[in-house]
Amino acid sequence: MQAQTNTEGQTQTNSPVPAQASVQVQAQANAQVQAQMNAQVQIHTEAQVQASPTEPSCSASIPTRAQGALPAPTPVLQGLRDAGPIVLAYVPLGAGFGLLARVIGMPTWLVALTSLLLYAGAGQYTIASMLAAGVSLPIITASVILLNLRHLLYSASIGMRLDRWPALLRWLGVFGLTDEVYAVASMAPGPFAPQYYFALAIASHLAWIGGSVSGAWLGGLLPSSVTNALAYSLTALFLALLLGTGQPHQLRTRLVAAGVAGGVTLGIQLAGGTNVGLLLGALAGTTAGWWCSQDRRRGSRDDGPDSGLGADGSADPGAGPDDGLRTG
C-alpha cells in the first residue's frame, strides 16, 4: 500500500472513470477477463501481472509504463491499490483453507479448482469442515448454496452501477463478487470503470487461489500466530469501510443499519442458523438503515448529492465528491 495522498493531502476519491470508459477500456478489460478465465498470470499487457499473491503491496510493483502514460492513478492502479487489504487477508485465509483441505485429504488440484470456481471463503471452509465431519455431499451442497445466498444482495446492489458495461463484462464481473470485493467496490464513488473493478477482483481472486494452493502445498510454513494476526486485517477493513467512508452526516444511518444487521446475524447464528444468519441479518439491517434514512429525509430534504439516482441513472451509494477513503 503506497502513499497516494494528493497534493493537498485531501481525501482520496477513487478517481472514477464514468462514461468515457469505452472502447480502449473494454479492450483492456477483455484481456483481464480472459486472464481470469484462464487463471493465468501470463498476461503481459496489464498491470495485474504484478498482482501476484506474494505481493500485496500493489502500487510498488506497477510497471513504469503505466505510470508514465497517465498522470492520475489509472483505474487499474486504483483497483490494485484498493485490492491491497483484501490480498493481504486472502493469502493467509486461503492458505488456511488449503491446509485444512489437505489435512482432510482433498488433493491439491481439487483445492485449486474449488478456489477457482467456487471462490467463496466461508463456503469453502464449510465444505472442508463438513467433509471432515463426514456430512453427505447433498447436505454440504445445500448448506453452501444457502450460505452464499447473501450474495444476492451484493449483486442487486452492485448491478445498478454496472449499467454502462457490456453484458459480457457484467456477467463475468459478478463472478468475483465476494464479501470483501463487494464491500470495497461498493464504496468506490460513482459508476466505476470495468478496469477498476476487474483489477480489484482479479487481484483478490489470484490472492485467494495462490493462498489456498500454497497452503495445500506448503502446509503451515508461517506460524499460525502470524496468519491469525494477518487475517484480522479483514475485520479492520470492514471497520474502515463502515466508519471511514460515506458522508459523515450519514454515519448514524450506517450505524443503525450495521447495528441491526450485526445483532440479527449474531442472534440467528447463535441460535444455530449459521447458514442464513448473514443473509437475514443483512436484510434486516438494510431495511432498518433505509427506514432511518427515510425518516431523516422527511425531516429535511437536504440530504446531499448522494441520494437516489445519479445523473446517469445509476445509483451512487454514499458517493459524494469527497467521501472516499484514503488508501495511502
Binding site: I145, N148, A261, L266
Partner: protein, 98 residues
C-alpha cells in the same frame, strides 16, 4: 460444481435484474443501505464470537483491537492506517492475552 453454479447464480441474477432498468427510487434507497448492513453482519460475529461461540467482549482480543481501529477509521478516514492499527493491536493483544 452445483455449489459453484448456485453461488454464481446468486452473484449474477440480481445484477441482471437491477442493471439497465429503471428501479423504484425507494428500492434504490433501500439498496443504499445494503453495504453498511452487510459490514455490520460480517463484523458482529468477528467481534463477539470465537469459533461460533459467544465470547465476552472483554476476553476477546478481536473486540479490543476493534476499538482503536474504529477510532482511527472515524477520525482519520484512512484505510491503510486503520489496517495497521487493527492488525498491530490484535497481534499484541493476542500475544498478551494468551
Amino acid at each position: 460444481m452445483v455449489m459453484a453454479l448456485g453461488t454464481y447464480l446468486a452473484r449474477s441474477v440480481p445484477m441482471a435484474m437491477t442493471s439497465r432498468r429503471a428501479l423504484p427510487p425507494r428500492f434504490v434507497d433501500w439498496l443504499d443501505s445494503v453495504a453498511p448492513a452487510v459490514l455490520g453482519a460480517l463484523l458482529a460475529p468477528a467481534l463477539f464470537t470465537v469459533n461460533g461461540h459467544l465470547v465476552p467482549p472483554w476476553q476477546n482480543p478481536a473486540f479490543w483491537a476493534a476499538v482503536p481501529s474504529a477510532l482511527v477509521a472515524v477520525w482519520k478516514r484512512h484505510l491503510a492506517l486503520t489496517l495497521v492499527v487493527g492488525v498491530g493491536t490484535y497481534a499484541v493483544l493476542t500475544w498478551l492475552m494468551t
